[in-house]
């Protein structure tokens, strides 16, 4: 792993401990998850205990310590999506992708997670894959949507 990338990120925030969340966000944007080596290196550069980093990394929902798939599927579980059947869409995705919520496929193609909420409530139920948002999703559209991702 090229730790210079981590160095660059840490320096961007002037090695300030208060920027820890931003630093972790940038590391995750780079690697798609928080790799152990990157966290160990961040600890050294910020000169703070590793527990402090792990505490933040496990408190906030957006962080993950496990590698994510190439495509991240987020099923919105906001209230509007819930009453409009997002739960069924989630179950359909679990069946079609073949993993449970929170898991990643063995070939690292997809990760499936829930999110609350994307703020597109008028289009409920909503699914986001990477940066594409799909509104008014129906179960029978799921297959066609998944096929767009390689």
């Amino acid at each position: 792993m090229d730790l210079k990338v981590v160095d660059k990120i840490v320096d961007r925030y002037k090695r300030k401990e208060s920027a820890l969340i931003s630093i972790l966000q940038d590391i995750q944007a780079e690697y798609n998850y928080l790799p152990k080596e990157a966290l160990l290196h961040t600890r050294k550069r910020l000169n703070i205990p590793l527990t402090k980093i792990i505490r933040v990394a496990t408190f906030y929902n957006i962080f993950t310590l496990k590698p994510r798939g190439r495509h991240l599927i987020n099923v919105c579980m906001g209230t509007a999506c819930h009453v409009k059947g997002a739960g069924r869409i989630l179950e359909k995705l679990e069946r079609d992708v073949g993993i449970r919520t929170g898991e990643t496929t063995a070939d690292l193609k997809f990760s499936l997670e829930i999110i609350r909420c994307l703020g597109c409530c008028s289009l409920a139920p909503v699914v986001r894959i990477d940066n594409d948002i799909y509104g008014k999703v129906k179960q029978d559209r799921v297959q066609e949507i998944l096929k767009r991702y390689e």
Binding site: Y60, T79, G119, S122, L123, Q139
Partner: protein, 637 residues
């Protein structure tokens, strides 16, 4: 770029920029907030851009925010000199191409048009600007005016005054509509006392949920000991079902920056933070650009408007934790720590961020500020009810015909919002309840439909204003399931600091889950009520204190549904999977094979043109047969 150093500079820039929003050539605006993009506005934009390029058309094409009518997006507005502004709705690439072809022949596609605008209101100046009309196609006369269509008729746009009108990525358009004039006025003519006096007098209350008087909060923070002082914009819109803050940031970021600047000046702060959810990448991008543009003009930085006042703003992205919407947790998060709330024996206005006096307001509150300064407190205080002044933006979503963001004067009734603006419940279903206030709020039943909406009335009804989510529920929504949904949300989002919240919510959720599985027993309701009391009384922050609200309010108004689950093992709304079965009405079934092909479990058997059957042992109750049967042959019991 020249710095703006005086009101005179600002005025001449405003004059020059008017051409941008009322151009002498055709202009096309496309609503490209997250909701618009999700409906396909990106493709529509691309198509129109290509048409313009290929045909070398003299047309200005710009992105704008969301005007609120998300249901009908993508929206494409055409401003052609001599015409009123017309709004095409539910566009796609094909329709967009056709609309452009029509436009080139001076024609319109009447049936695709939602509304027209014959005069544009310039709220800040209190003037209206007529579109000079001439040689109108006849069909245009029949198009209803924007103000006459039921969705907009009762709305009053204050916080969302510019959303869907201006290009949020062009500060000049904001200035053309009077932007930064309130800041100029404050910095050159007002002292701190006058600003706080004006905001206090206006009666503006926090739009994030608390409803605390904004002017009073500013006063306390201004008189608090300590320096530096901080102002923060809470853009951690965590309420699942509310998205007005996203829309304001994506559609009119400068209104928030201007509000923060005015607040900071009044309080005596030179440093601001915007704490924004990571789930809103577009809002972050637009906000960053807005800050850069404001810096270039000198609205942010040193010696703003030559007044000696300095102010800088920094963006902090959240980490996807609902609890960080709570003030002390939010501040901990900005400091790079985990977002755990602390006891507020000492308020954040005295000791907040880095232990310094800190004033926190939410996006919508800040967006109201410039207008109150520009139009005066008396003008603002005339809108609304005795205790709740001004307007509130609600996200009207769920089982409702017209979904979208609606900004209405306080005191309007639920009925007006749901039926007059929202158009009622779709598919002829029966209205059951409306959920307000997010996970801290509650469900308001049909018998209270005439309730005037303001802070006090909603609280009295067992719910709350919250950040303005309004989720409409129909007869197919199970209220026990809704309560379970909120508790499951809160269980995930509880930070875990207080035992009562961490464990109490979990136990309540277990009971509710049991009830929805048909395993409820006598005494469960009483146990839920007892736990509710403990969680509410012994939790440190509002997340725990209000966590039982969704349970208590559904118990208060829909106790019979709980009892049906517990005693009869029935889910009256036919939602709870363990209590329902799917079957096929053999008389209605035409044997079309659709459900058989779609069923993931191969639970459906039957030949073409023969009635189908569902094998109950295989059925997982996914509902795909129900969703796709054209003959209404699927029964749920």
């Amino acid at each position: 770029m020249n710095k703006i150093e005086s009101l005179k500079d600002l005025n001449s820039l405003k004059e020059r920029s008017t051409e941008l929003i009322f151009p002498h050539r055709t202009k096309i605006l496309i609503g490209m907030a997250s909701c618009g993009l999700a409906s396909g506005a990106g493709e529509v934009f691309q198509t129109i851009a290509e048409e313009i390029k290929e045909r070398k058309l003299d047309i200005a094409l710009v992105r704008t925010g969301c005007i609120g009518f998300c249901q009908r997006e993508p929206l494409v507005d055409i401003m052609k000199p001599g015409w009123p502004k017309i709004s095409y709705c539910e566009m796609n690439s094909k329709k967009a191409t056709e609309a452009i072809h029509q436009l080139l022949q001076e024609k319109i596609k009447r049936e695709w048009i939602l509304a027209k605008v014959v005069e544009e209101e310039c709220l800040l100046e209190g003037t209206t600007r007529l579109y000079p009309l001439n040689g109108l196609p006849k069909k245009m006369e029949e198009i209803p005016s924007y103000k006459d269509i039921s969705f907009y008729k009762k709305q009053v746009k204050i916080a969302m005054r510019n959303c869907g009108f201006i290009d949020p990525e062009n500060i000049d358009e904001y200035i053309a509509r009077g932007g930064y004039s309130a800041l100029g006025k404050v910095l050159t003519q007002y002292d701190s006392e006058q600003v706080i006096g004006e905001i206090t007098k206006s009666g503006l209350r926090g739009r994030g949920g608390g409803g605390f008087l904004t002017g009073r909060k500013w006063r306390y923070c201004q008189s608090a000991q300590g320096y530096p002082k901080y102002v923060i914009c809470n853009a951690d819109e965590g309420d699942p079902g509310a998205y007005m803050d996203r829309s304001i940031l994506e559609g009119d970021p400068h209104s928030v920056l201007e509000g923060m600047l005015i607040g900071a000046y009044a309080i005596g702060s030179n440093e601001g933070y915007i704490y924004i959810r990571a789930e809103y990448p577009l809002a972050v991008k637009i906000l960053k650009k807005a800050i850069k543009q404001a810096e270039d003009y000198g609205f942010l930085g040193k010696n703003i408007f030559n007044s000696g006042f300095d102010f800088t703003v920094q963006i902090n992205r959240g980490g996807g934790a609902f609890v960080c919407g709570e003030s002390t947790a939010l501040m901990a998060s900005i400091e790079g720590k985990v977002g755990e709330p602390r006891a507020k024996h000492i308020h954040t206005i005295e000791s907040g961020l880095w232990g310094k006096p800190t004033n926190l307001n939410n996006v919508e509150t800040w967006a109201n500020v410039p207008l109150i300064i520009a139009k005066g407190a008396d003008w603002y205080a005339k809108i609304g009810t005795k205790e709740s002044k001004g307007t509130k933006v609600f996200s009207l979503v769920g089982k409702i015909e017209n979904t979208g963001l609606v900004e209405v004067p306080m005191g309007i009734t639920l009925k007006e919002i749901i039926y007059d603006i929202g158009g009622g419940v779709p598919e002829g279903k029966k209205f059951k309840a409306v959920q307000t206030g997010g996970p801290s709020g509650g469900c308001i039943p049909e018998e209270l439909i005439n309730l005037p909406v303001d802070f006090e009335e909603l609280t009295r009804a067992g719910s709350m204003m919250g950040s303005g989510g309004m989720i409409v529920m129909d007869e197919d929504t199970c209220m026990v399931d809704v309560a379970k949904y909120f508790l499951s949300f809160l269980q995930d989002e509880s930070c875990g600091k207080c035992t009562s919240c961490r464990e109490g919510i979990k136990r309540m959720l277990q009971i509710l889950t049991r009830i929805t599985q048909g395993k409820g027993k006598d005494g469960d309701i009483e146990l839920l009520e007892e736990l509710s009391q403990v969680v509410a009384e012994t939790s440190l922050c509002a997340l725990g204190q209000t966590a039982p609200n969704p349970v208590l309010s559904t118990l208060r108004y829909f106790r019979d549904e709980y009892e049906a689950h517990i005693k009869d093992k029935k889910c009256p709304a036919k939602v709870c999977k363990d209590l329902i079965t799917y079957s096929i009405d053999e008389e209605a079934c035409r044997g079309c094979l659709v459900c058989k092909k779609l069923c993931p479990q191969e639970a459906i058997t039957g030949e073409r043109k023969q009635p189908h059957r569902i094998n109950q042992d295989k059925c997982i109750k996914c509902g795909i047969c129900l969703e796709n049967c054209k003959f209404g042959a699927i029964r749920v019991e």
